[in-house]
Symmetry: C2
């Protein structure tokens, strides 16, 4: 079906019963965030929905649930969406979700196959991000946003790092966890093995090391980031190029997403074509 | 009283009644966050309490409220504290505060006099941050943390920017909103007037401008930051040096605290003495 036909075919479906089975995927969102959703995820808010519906997202839309007053502004973005679009008043949405849905915009997305980490490494210039033990969804979401902004080719996560498709991580990422390719490895050592296979320089961000500003340009690099508290494991850092960000006396650390942004700006800034700089 | 005498004088006061009048400043924290606290603020968590008790804080401690099991680790930091230290079980703390106090660490601080903005500008090298219309406590807290990390001399805020002494802003700032000097100005135009008075170059961060990496070193600068959505007012930017951070195609913006960190790293990194770089 061509896009123009789909555009005229948008038939939102009003629902006023919170127990309607078509709303079951939206039920008790917070509790189900904790136990996993069998390949599905919850997209929340207009920014994320627009990314999910765009060609940039790597994921399918299963359904959309909107407060009726949000429909007009979103209609153009929904034109090419072949998933059902449900309309429910905010009190109905909140009753289903189990907490107040102020934004009035939800959707269910569905994951594709998990990426092979080796397949994420491009030939030629390459910049990847490796996350080790990051269990905070805000930080993981923030790092995806920064990876997208600075043109990273992908994000690789160890088993301890939390799910970038968790609702709050997607929201904080401004939808970029739906666009930046990511993959899983068992642990930090597997990231170093991957660096060795693909001639990537592993760069470990850690206090007290060589100033990152003194680093020569690295055409192929993987930036390793660990938690603010315990940092990267010593055995990992011993096999990586350690760099630090100069900080004022008395300041222990930056937020890990912020430190990652400063490092990616340094490592990746030069890769962005001049016409795209903004 | 000398420090050693104070150290031996630490006499924590157990309280088990949530209605005890000594706990009144801790009552209904969330509601009172919204209406202001007459110069008082709530410090939450161990990181913030340690900053409040340290010589780095510009504020006084009025009282401390701890879950008893948190006392041993904090005792050395409390040794020089002449404010009362109350001990209450977590359920009592939560009943008073009106929500679960998982960390078991609270304190009430009291503000000093509001700083004169002109007094925050040092002679010689100067780097200040100007916030215009930032109403998100996470962003303001994050910007204080970054201002501290990159050695900024102070933060100036317009009337629309939210309170850096709001509980959540202090927590996100890792306590640095208690250490970095700040002041208020009526609006963005007043920031530019201040720049003119003190020979500071106003640097406006905005998409689509000159690459910040191409900026020459600026010994005296004020970095202007506005909201992610609407950005800085056009009239303000017309009077400032506009710079941007190169971003990948399709990415609209960075989080404002992250963008501020990248810019401060660029503007301020060279000011930090080499021995303090970490």
């Amino acid at each position: 079906m061509r896009r123009a036909e789909l555009a005229t075919a948008l038939r939102p479906i009003p629902i006023d019963d919170p127990a309607d089975p078509r709303l079951a995927p939206y039920a008790a969102i917070r509790e189900r965030d904790l136990v996993g959703r069998q390949g599905r995820f919850v997209a929340e808010g207009e920014v994320v929905l627009r990314v999910l519906l765009s060609g940039r997202s790597r994921f399918r839309t299963e359904s959309v649930l909107l407060a009726p007053e949000r429909l007009p502004a979103l209609e153009p973005a929904l034109a090419a969406c072949d998933a059902p679009v449900y309309l429910a008043a905010r009190p109905v949405m909140s009753a289903v979700a189990g907490f107040p849905i102020h934004r009035g915009v939800l959707a269910i997305g569905r994951g594709g196959p998990v990426a092979d980490p080796d397949a994420l490494v491009p030939d030629g210039p390459a910049l990847l991000v490796g996350l080790v033990g990051l269990t905070n969804h805000d930080n993981v979401g923030g790092l995806f946003r920064n990876a997208a902004a600075f043109g990273a080719d992908g994000v690789l996560m160890d088993a301890a790092t939390c799910d970038p498709l968790y609702r709050k991580a997607i929201r904080v990422s401004a939808g970029t966890s739906l666009t930046v390719p990511f993959g899983r490895v068992p642990d930090g050592a597997a990231l170093l093995d991957l660096c060795a296979r693909h001639a990537l320089v592993p760069v470990a961000l850690t206090p007290g090391a060589e100033d990152i500003a003194a680093l020569p340009p690295l055409p192929r690099a993987l930036l390793l980031l660990g938690t603010e508290g315990t940092g990267l494991p010593e055995g990992l850092m011993a096999r990586a190029r350690r760099v630090g960000i100069p900080m004022a006396p008395g300041v222990d650390s930056l937020n890990v997403a912020v430190a990652g942004a400063v490092a990616l700006h340094r490592l990746g800034g030069g890769r962005l074509p001049a016409q795209d700089r903004a």
